[in-house]
């Protein structure tokens, strides 16, 4: 097996750091070098053996120091929006033409937290050690965005066996509201690894609605760790359509740190050839009267693998918690695999917590019904799969955005059905 050890003197190449920061980076890098990419012996990576996946698909992994040429950007024309452009993880440009400029702050991310958290996740260690890019977005108090913010994540064609590490931070002030669409456009035809660490902070009564979408299929290997802090009465809604990468693991930590805070997480994906995708969540109910809702839907075909690991933790003081987890998967081929681990850890008694997880084939009666109405088997399957996945997109309120997403999802399905 290949070793992906990274020399500590590479840190000097990233930039000049204070001693404190440098020690922090070296410590984390040493930890990563000891463990390497996590394998299935690590409980959090039980179903996604990243060590195996990386060593199978990569010969080497280089850090990227030189800047890439700015690619042409196809801005979305379907609806009016503000935007931020991120190229290979680096903040490049932005436009907030529909908003009040003094209410928004956007800058390149500067890490100033070197506290020793003793992180035991090699991917976070790697990010702490090597991250050199990213942005920090702050929405000040009492401001509601008038239009949606689209964050374009572009990846350039010259990426080849590179590893990118970036850190982002979004802070929504008291009583403020932001809707955003993370739109990933990947021009690289080669393997590369993108490792992101994200920090999201919602102050009291803040609202963040977030949609994550891939433009098209690509050979990217993505890992994202997202840490969300929700203060009292704040609300986080996240729609994730992660389809289209070779490997994707989204690791969400949601801390409900104020009374009556709520989070709603929904995901729908269609996995194909050799794709591997995991959604892992940990929702920590730390205060009373909080709500959390999770719905994860997967359709798997060819030899793809889908994983859902969800955990709801309810602290003893968090009475009147309402927490729900649902995972549904449809397996269309015998080569596909779906694993789930919906976990509950509950220490308070006056709570309503439940989860459900199902996996199986398409309902034969439904297919039969559609076929009696004159549809071919393929068409029936497509219609049913579409209906299954669109349920998530349907709960997006804005019509124009909903349609945009549905078209994108439909194209992904179409690609699949054209082939057969």
């Amino acid at each position: 097996m290949l070793n992906f050890k990274i020399d500590t003197n590479k840190i000097d190449k990233i930039g000049k750091f204070t001693k404190e920061e440098k020690d922090f980076r070296i410590k984390n890098l040493n930890y990563f070098n000891d463990i390497g990419f996590p394998n299935k012996r690590n409980e959090d990576w039980k179903f996604s053996d990243l060590k195996e996946i990386v060593s199978k698909n990569f010969n080497k992994l280089n850090l990227k120091f030189e800047k890439s040429e700015k690619p042409k950007i196809d801005f979305i024309k379907d609806f009016e929006h503000n935007y931020i452009v991120i190229i290979n993880g680096e903040l490049v440009s932005s436009d907030f033409k529909y908003e009040e400029k003094n209410k928004i702050e956007l800058q390149t991310f500067i890490n100033d937290d070197y506290s020793d958290k003793n992180e035991k996740n090699p991917m976070i260690n790697l990010n702490h050690a090597l991250s050199d890019k990213g942005y920090f977005l702050e929405v000040k108090e009492n401001y509601k965005f008038k239009k949606i913010l689209v964050i374009y994540y572009l990846f350039t064609g010259d990426l080849d066996e590179n590893i990118l590490n970036s850190k982002n931070k979004i802070k929504i002030g008291k009583n403020s509201e932001l809707h955003c669409l993370e739109f990933v456009v990947n021009d690289s035809k080669r393997n590369f690894f993108n490792n992101v660490y994200e920090d999201i902070i919602l102050d009291d009564s803040a609202i963040l609605k977030n949609i994550c979408l891939q433009n098209s299929k690509s050979l990217g290997y993505f890992h994202k760790y997202s840490k969300n802090k929700l203060s009292s009465q704040s609300n986080l809604t996240s729609f994730i359509f992660p389809t289209g990468l070779k490997f994707y693991k989204l690791d969400l930590e949601i801390n409900l740190e104020g009374e009556r805070s709520e989070c709603n997480l929904q995901s729908a994906s269609f996995l194909n050839n050799n794709e591997h995708q995991e959604v892992k969540t940990r929702v920590n109910h730390l205060f009373p009267n909080c709500k959390s809702y999770q719905k994860v839907k997967n359709v798997l075909t060819a030899d793809s693998k889908g994983v859902y690991q969800g955990k709801i933790f309810v602290k003893d003081v968090a009475q009147k918690t309402d927490a729900y987890q649902l995972s549904k998967a449809i397996l269309l081929s015998d080569g596909s695999e779906f694993d789930s681990k919906p976990e509950l850890e509950i220490y308070a008694d006056d709570v309503k917590c439940s989860h459900g997880s199902t996996s199986g084939s398409l309902d034969k009666d439904s297919v039969y019904y559609l076929m009696t109405r004159g549809l071919s088997k393929k068409e029936s399957t497509k219609l049913l799969v579409n209906g299954f996945l669109n349920e998530v997109a349907d709960s997006i309120k804005s019509e124009s955005i909903k349609n945009f997403i549905k078209i994108k999802l439909d194209n992904q399905l179409l690609d699949e059905y054209k082939k057969h």
Binding site: I346, Y347, D349, T358, G360
Partner: protein
């Protein structure tokens, strides 16, 4: 001895000890201890070799530590691995020769050892500390060709069967406690049901730990040959002591073509006192293999005792069309901890499994369901249904659910659901209003909550189990 005579204490009515002179193996775990056990059991050489192989394996294996309930390190050198009532040294030929004190103990426990109590219609094998005391109804069973005897006797009389099946479901290298058991197991039951035979009565084993500082390591092996059926029940109690005692048993079930095994457990080991002092560590490995086509294994367990319960009765569904079932009630109160569940491994086509788990925690207890459903690539048209419900009483206890679900083919279906809640206040109010006091009401509601599982128990034990559910929760509400 540190024993405390506490039989007046009604909270755990099996907490008495019996003063009987014991024969013990030298303290500690060593090759000598194993040779001592093997010698006293008059075992053939192959058995001793098997034990030593396990012991060598044990030396290199590590104790697992991934489980939820943590426990202080066990000093394996500070335990007695063999303890037997002295009077058992020369085996009694019939019940008349059994030490009257032993009979008295079992009478206190309500075990119908005496064959006169034929009304109960249950054949019993009683295991006291490390040796099997007596097996009732032998004659009737022998007529049908059924073998039901202590495993030490089976090793001598039916070596071919034992050699063929022992360790075939739980290999000696399986995990730390299974390996430990393989090295030092002292006694247990052996059951063989010949082809096309329906065992005419419930078979039952009663386990009791009596002596202090002993671990109990029994081994049960049940083989249901083609087309046979057997229902087996296991019960356990132990005296109250302020030290922790280890119980690490291995149970292996093998069902061949069209055979069915129903295995029920009412586990009521001493759970420790209100402050969590003492109690049994119940680290048991139970596994059944549905080897044949259309075979079925069904586990039912009522776990009310033990300081820590850590076990996963599992089914390996190898034969096509085989069925695995798991029904469980785990009740934890005070400082008890339970980490229990099952594994259903689907390998054959059209295999089905069903898991119903009810966890109840009260006081400062922690209750975890941990289970695996794994449907393999070749297990086409398989089906699993899992339901885990937890009930919490009070805000100092915990209820956890950790299911692992793996599906590797598109023609199989898995459904899993779990809920956690507290006792509905409306239900309590309704019961109170009809004249039931708080405790009666809770007992009634909890029994209703557990109904799906209690129904699976054989009649005689369902009644006992129902009472046990009520008793275990006494004082937890109000």
């Amino acid at each position: 001895m540190k024993n405390q005579e506490l039989d007046q204490n009604k909270e755990y009515k099996y907490g008495f000890t019996t003063d009987i002179e014991n024969v013990k193996a030298p303290k500690g775990l060593s090759e000598e201890t194993i040779k001592f056990i093997s010698k006293i059991k008059k075992e053939p050489k192959w058995m001793l070799d098997w034990r030593l192989k396990a012991y060598n394996r044990l030396k290199v294996s590590k104790e697992p530590n991934w489980q939820k309930p943590k426990y202080p390190k066990i000093d394996y050198q500070d335990l007695y691995y063999y303890s037997a009532p002295k009077s058992m040294k020369d085996k009694p030929k019939s019940l008349d020769e059994v030490d009257p004190k032993l009979i008295e103990t079992y009478n206190k426990l309500g075990i119908p050892l005496n064959e006169q109590k034929k009304l109960s219609g249950v054949a019993v094998d009683a295991v006291f500390d490390s040796v099997s005391v007596a097996t009732t109804f032998k004659g009737e069973l022998t007529k049908k060709g059924i073998i039901f005897c202590p495993i030490s006797e089976a090793i001598q009389k039916h070596p071919d069967l034992v050699k063929k099946y022992l360790g075939s479901v739980i290999p000696i290298s399986d995990h730390y406690f299974a390996t430990l058991n393989s090295a030092v197991f002292t006694d247990g039951s052996f059951v063989y049901i010949p082809p096309n035979t329906r065992c005419p009565m419930e078979l039952s084993t009663y386990f009791r730990i009596n002596a202090a500082e002993t671990g109990q390591f029994e081994r049960t092996l049940i083989i249901a040959d083609k087309g046979s059926y057997v229902s087996y029940l296991e019960g356990c109690t132990a005296p109250m002591r302020d030290e922790n005692q280890l119980h690490a048993a291995n149970v292996e079930l093998i069902a061949l073509d069209d055979a069915e095994i129903k295995y029920s457990t009412v586990q009521n080991w001493y759970p420790g006192d209100k402050d969590g002092v003492g109690g049994i560590y119940n680290f048991v490995t139970k596994r059944g293999a549905c080897r044949g086509k259309n075979s079925k294994i069904s586990w039912t367990q009522v776990e009310t005792g033990s300081a820590i319960t850590w076990k996963y009765p599992s089914c390996i569904l190898q034969g096509d069309n085989s069925v695995g079932e798991f029904y469980s009630i785990a009740i934890t109160n005070n400082h008890q901890k339970a980490d229990t569940g099952t594994k259903m491994i689907h390998l054959g086509k059209n295999t089905k499994s069903k898991i119903i788990s009810k966890g109840i925690s009260a006081g400062k207890a922690d209750n975890t369901y941990r289970g695996l459903v794994d449907i393999g690539r070749k297990a086409l048209n398989s089906r699993n249904y899992t339901q885990c419900d937890s009930l919490l009483m009070g805000n100092k206890c915990g209820a956890h659910t950790v299911p692992y679900i793996k599906n590797k083919n598109s023609s199989s279906t898995i459904e899993h659901e779990a809920t956690t809640s507290k006792i509905n206040e409306d239900q309590l109010f309704y019961c109170n209003q009809r004249g039931l006091n708080q405790e009666e009401a809770v007992s009634l509601i909890v029994n209703g909550f557990c109904k799906d599982v209690l129904q699976q128990l054989p009649m005689e034990f369902a009644v006992e189990a129902q009472k046990l559910v009520g008793i275990s929760l006494e004082g937890s509400v109000g």
